[in-house]
Symmetry: C2
Subunit: 305 residues, 2 copies
């Protein structure tokens, strides 16, 4: 069961109270694919420039990520730089150079179009729709978005998510999407927009899963040290969809035990927490499935009563 | 098994986006006792003025609260007024009139000193110590405090909590108490100060329980409407200690199954959530033990994976 992932591959300059990196591999597609690779084979659709380093390509390959859909264009790879506040709850973007990402028109290689699962990372909603239309027989499709698209391309966004099985966004985005502060009411309004499953990420405070008939909540994993939160939300997405793909669920036809969705939220939380332990994607150099499953078990111990 | 509760009884003027009350029964002791009354007999130690209304006394009596330790002095009852921000995450105090509470010197009636359980609400640490010394054979003692005492009477506070079984504070207070932002590390430092059990309340984000060998986390109950959060933290305390007292646990000698402590945290969360559903203590006019147990079961459904 393979998972197609669309999003950005980037170089990030990151500064946190724990140190800095001038040029670290990043981007939503990178984090999602690396996290999902512990559960399934991610097939990525993204674009990089001529400066994309062989060692970064090698990291993705070493995790079994299918790079056939990774386009390489003349120019430079998407570059982002940001700095975190002392408590790491706030982040200021210093610079965003779209570079080759500016003209990204995702094209699926023929080998991708019959894959079972599709996760659409945060890119322009019409591009997300174009990718969705290229897929032939998906068993689930879901994705992420952000406040920018809610403000500037709201109609496109609503048309895009109408046929998704799940939407995965953070709490402030959920409130903004339906203009409702109370999360319980906001969630019900979002479920009216199309997706039958909604996951709301709350950063260090955990995550929630909503469906018409059910609610699931998990607190955040309490780390001894948060080194760098960059990519944690995307890693959550990768763990969540990776687990669902590994288990072979057909969300399209709603063939799933809700407890499996709950477990997918836990795996998302686990991957998000590991991501914060080192800079950028560095934790993935050593992270093992055994460590992931051990932290899953820890979540059970920490929340059982 | 009776529980002695020390704290304030007050009249509050509260304004939230949902409305206002000019003079509502409040105070930490009131909220703690009302919440604990669903589990055990609370014996309160507090002071009111001549303006204390018969109907407020009647509410406490109707819940089986022992009022022998409720002193009535010439003058007015403690008065507080505050207003909440639109999202209710911030509260501005408009006025604090200590009135008879200014000279409060808690004296335990003879019938109280042999009770089993003691909860010291947020008052001056030396007064908390004086009450503790009047008790003869407690099976657990714990309490609450606040940033004011950390800043102005730190040595007294540290001496006071040294012999407590548990401390129950919110996340910003925990960070301030040991000058450590990371909650996991802050918790370990607080456990070095004396209490073997620490509960950190995080408002809408839930609560955590720390001991040397264990950690428990629960997300906040997701209300459809938060009417008025005043007293929610004290109701959490009342549910937590009330359940422990009902079950007859001897925390002093550490005779407890940790899962029972986890359940006490859930009951605390349940009582805190009910408190927010109406203004001040109004929800307690109709709240039943059956509703409390139903919400406890809901917590289990919402967090099981």
């Amino acid at each position: 069961m393979s998972l197609v992932v669309v999003g950005s591959v980037a170089y990030d300059a990151i500064e946190t109270p724990n140190g800095k990196r001038d040029r670290a591999l990043g981007g939503s597609c990178t984090y999602i694919a690396l996290s999902a690779s512990y559960f399934t084979k991610p097939c990525i659709v993204a674009v990089v420039g001529e400066d994309f380093a062989p060692e970064d390509r090698a990291l993705l390959e070493s995790k079994g990520v299918d790079l056939e859909g990774l386009e390489r264009l003349p120019g430079k790879t998407f570059f982002w730089s940001g700095v975190y506040s002392d408590d790491m709850n706030e982040r200021t973007t210093l610079r965003t150079d779209l570079n080759v990402f500016a003209d990204f028109r995702p094209k699926l290689p023929p080998s991708y179009v019959h894959q079972d699962y599709l996760f659409l990372g945060n890119i322009q909603p019409t591009l997300q729709s174009e990718v969705r239309e290229q897929m032939r027989e998906v068993r689930f499709v879901g994705g992420d978005t952000m406040n920018y698209w809610m403000l500037h391309t709201r109609d496109d966004l609503l048309a895009t998510i109408r046929n998704w099985d799940f939407l995965l966004i953070n709490d402030s985005e959920a409130r903004m999407l339906v203009h409702e502060h109370n999360l319980r009411r906001a969630a019900q309004k979002i479920l009216d927009l199309g997706p039958h499953t909604l996951v709301i990420k709350r950063g260090e405070y955990g995550a929630m899963l909503f469906r018409r008939d059910t609610l699931f909540m998990v607190p955040g994993y309490l780390l001894e040290d948060v080194f760098d939160p960059t990519g944690a939300g995307d890693c959550f997405a990768g763990g969540f969809v990776g687990y669902l793909a590994e288990r072979g669920f057909d969300l399209r036809n709603n063939h799933i035990d809700v407890h499996e969705l709950h477990r997918a939220v836990i795996y998302g939380s686990v991957l998000g927490s590991f991501c914060c332990e080192q800079f950028g994607v560095e934790r993935f150099h050593t992270l093992t499935r055994k460590e992931i499953d051990q932290r899953f078990d820890e979540f059970r111990r920490f929340t059982t009563f």
